[in-house]
Symmetry: C2
Subunit: 233 residues, 2 copies
DNA sequence: ACAATAGTGTCTTTAAGACATTATTCA
DNA sequence: TGAATAATGTCTTAAAGACACTATTGT
């Protein structure tokens, strides 16, 4: 009994989000042949934009989580604030053969990235980019999950480096959901999560009342909605 | 550049639920060496209970979805009412090597199963079963996702073969959520989903008012809660 | 004082929950 | 008619939403 033919490559495909200049951005790579193998005949989607994926390396990575951390580290060079597995796809996604792709959502604070990577506004990618492989599908899944989860969780807090003001936070919710929210209602929902911890600092940036800085009281997400009996995954 | 060593096996691990005698049951297999290879030295977790998993076969399955359908068909021999991908795990889950497991939730109407499979009440498995591999972890994830989703969707409708009455449906919600619900409130939520379509039939099973039969007005899930702006999934 | 934004309070609207009432069936 | 359950209606409670009001800053 030999099933060796049934083995497949497994790629890790994170969709990395950051906030920049009032817009949600996503990390995009332009595919280039590896410099140490410039004559690679078999490199698909050369010069196409793509998600910052990487191969899962069972010979190096003890667990899937390690592979994910490694890929994120290699492709961003930065600290990732939040990671969540999205979904897996499988089939002849890659012209070189049958592959599994395990995708992730990652939230990060906007910053300079390593060579080849760039931040692109999400709506720009949706309108004008043809991504390599099935990455357009994965991106759409990621956006759906992100916008959905923002509706009922403290997720947007993880887009900030550390401290944030409530007006800043509300703007992030409004950007992602593409909808204005009432200040009073918004604050009630956020405050009842218990996630807010005053830093003591204030943000002074004009001739008007300064806003208090807060930080997350805990690492984990907190969910809204009294009307749900149990936790949401 | 040769990455062949990085290829892995990928297993499909569905958690199949059905309702039986007022309890939620899950499909469990007892692991036996394949009959055509009785002297297999390398067969792990022999005689352990396990989820009805199967290997993804890229040489046969064109896409991951096909592999999932095939495994479900092989292991249940029955019609599956609802399938949803759960999550993927990876690592040295199997003593034979590094593997990926892609797990699923499946809902099915209770019925006789093929040889080796059996229905076990979920609480019984949680209390007393040591499952093969990391299947206890997967089962717990599946139960979390199921109970959570029942809170805000029409998912339990897919446990019925075809038609159901509202009292029957409410009982299913109560069984899965392990909580009594108010009849009036329950009906309001269900009715506003627009999922109910009268069949015209009635269930007469005693000296009292018979209940109307309904069927699902559409195949897809519908979600509750006016307070969410977008869909959940 | 004024302009601008932060933060709070009040009223309205809507959905959830508790509970009572009516409806239908068979014996 | 009575017992049992189906189905609906009413009132209460709690959260969401709209909007007005107060607070704090620099010039």
């Amino acid at each position: 009994m030999n099933y060796e033919d049934e083995k497949v490559f497994c790629s890790i495909d994170p969709v990395v989000f950051a906030l920049h200049e009032g817009k949600l951005h996503v990390l995009i790579y332009t595919r280039k042949k590896p410099k140490d193998h410039p004559e690679d005949e078999d490199y698909p989607f050369e010069n196409y934009p793509a998600l910052p994926g990487g191969l899962c390396r069972p010979t190096k990575d003890m667990k899937l989580e390690e592979a994910t951390s490694r890929v994120l580290k290699e492709k961003t060079g930065a600290e990732v604030n939040y990671v969540e597995q999205l979904l897996s796809r499988g089939g002849f996604r890659d012209p070189r053969g049958w592959t599994i792709s395990i995708s992730y959502i990652a939230l990060i604070t906007h910053q300079e990235l390593i060579e080849g990577a760039q931040w692109v506004p999400v709506d720009e990618v949706l309108k004008n980019y043809i991504l390599a492989f099935d990455h357009n599908l994965i991106l759409q899944d990621a956006i759906d999950r992100l916008t959905n989860k923002v509706n009922y969780s403290t997720l947007p807090m993880h887009l900030f480096e550390d401290a944030f003001t409530l007006p800043q936070l509300q703007k992030v919710y409004e950007i992602i959901l593409n909808d204005k929210m009432d200040k009073s209602t918004f604050r009630k929902k956020i405050e009842e999560t218990g996630m807010l911890e005053e830093t003591g600092e204030m943000l002074k940036d004009g001739p008007y009342r300064p806003a208090k800085f807060y930080r997350c009281a805990q690492k984990n997400l907190v969910y809204f909605s009294k009307n749900m009996k149990g936790p949401k995954f």
